[in-house]
Amino acid sequence: MAKHDTPLLDELEKGPWPSFVTDIKRQAEKNPDCWDILGQLELSFRDKITHWKHGGIVGVFGYGGGIVGRYSDVPDRFPGVEHFHTVRVNQPASKYYSTENLRQLMDLWEKHGSGMTNMHGSTGDIVLLGCRTEALEPFFWDLTHEMGQDLGGSGSNLRTPANCLGQSRCEWSCYDTEEACHHLTMHYQDEIHRPAFPYKFKFKFSGCPNDCVAALARSDFAVIGTWRDDIRIDQAAVKEYVAGNIVSGGGAHAGRDWGAFDIQKEVIDLCPTECMWMEGDELKIDNSECTRCMHCINVMPRALRPGAQQGASICVGAKAPILDGAQFATLIIPFIEVSAENEFENVIDVIENIWDWWMEVGKNRERVGETMQRVGLPTFIKVMGLEPIPQHVREPRSNPYVFWAEEEVEGGFDRDVDEFRKRHAA
């Protein structure tokens, strides 16, 4: 029996799509506090303002992250959501669950919290919505002691690392994303659970440039699998595709008749760098021009495979649009070996180099991508101890002036800026 009239929310149940309003009503039959979620949201729709307050001193002992405080600003009207804290639980690598684990987690959440979940948050965590302050410690005890799981990151912490399915299911994965994600999660437990940085910092691990966890767009530090030799071609399989004996795209578009496969139209003409052509019935690729878009490999997976010398590219600085708009990550290191044998030492060196600089130079609430933008890529590259490469250049220069640093000029030069400014005011 509904506790509140919700005519505006009821509109969201109409139409063909699943509705979160229906989901909450179903959960409210089990846990009557959930009626107050709907009641408060209906009020927000009427008032055109949120009635949630967030933040505060909630958390579990010793942790500076993983819990996000939420409170109602109208608790007298909606006591069921007076405290409604969000709990972020670190998801398993690649989000592999057993049904037993999921049932145990949901039983735990219905015991201590509202039973409402968000699977998953945009960083990848299991997000559990709605817990009273006094229930946080008992929930945390059960989660860690009975289930062997832990909280994820929030606030100015290292956020919960995430990865694609990697080599567990995908033949294109150029490194073991699950091992990398798990290893770095364990290596940086302190940074995940306690604030360390000027603002949030996210890792994501994709096994190939298809980038199934959107690392390029959604992480400060994206490790994206790549190769540095040639795409491997099976010319016999190319012929089978051309003859129509193998369905293109692994059958991904088989639900409709798209006509006969046309390698020229569907593969060669769509190559962004025009680096492919046919010589007779053989497919040729100028690999020096390949930008790893993955299109040809995606369309003809039995004929084309990533090269054999595999590793990853590291891109830094993606973020959402809070300040200065959204931005993709910038390619910093085109190729790096990623190996569990040396405990991902190469990757860790790059991470800690960035952190040491950003913790010192970054302003409060400034993402590393914003710091890079503020100081400029040339400065960032210098800090990282890297030589500039063509891939660092986004577009041909439009500024005709060239500035040289003293150490870049043979013999150097002396320049006293203060003396100069006496004669030429800035």
Partner: protein
């Protein structure tokens, strides 16, 4: 010779006690010992949390540090902001 860990911690507690706003970013503590690396200051701040001298305060998206008595004074016992 640089400051000892205990001297830095004492400076951090003083900073958190006297700062106009009760909540401080970890970066606000860097000046307590400009010779120390930011990571060391972060670790000392977290040590102070373990000792109960500081506590975490979260805005939801950013985590800050504060003296427990100053936060409770401002927010009441429930810590609601």
């Amino acid at each position: 010779m640089g400051m000892s860990d205990d001297e830095i911690k004492a400076a951090m507690i003083e900073k958190a006690t006297k700062a106009p706003k009760p909540q401080l970013y970890v970066k606000d503590f860097y000046k307590c010992d400009p010779e120390s690396k930011p990571r060391k200051i972060k670790n000392l701040a977290n040590d102070l949390v373990k000792q109960g001298e500081l506590m975490f305060w979260s805005s939801g998206s950013t985590t800050m540090y504060a003296r427990p008595d100053r936060i409770k004074d401002e927010e009441g016992d429930e810590g609601v902001n």
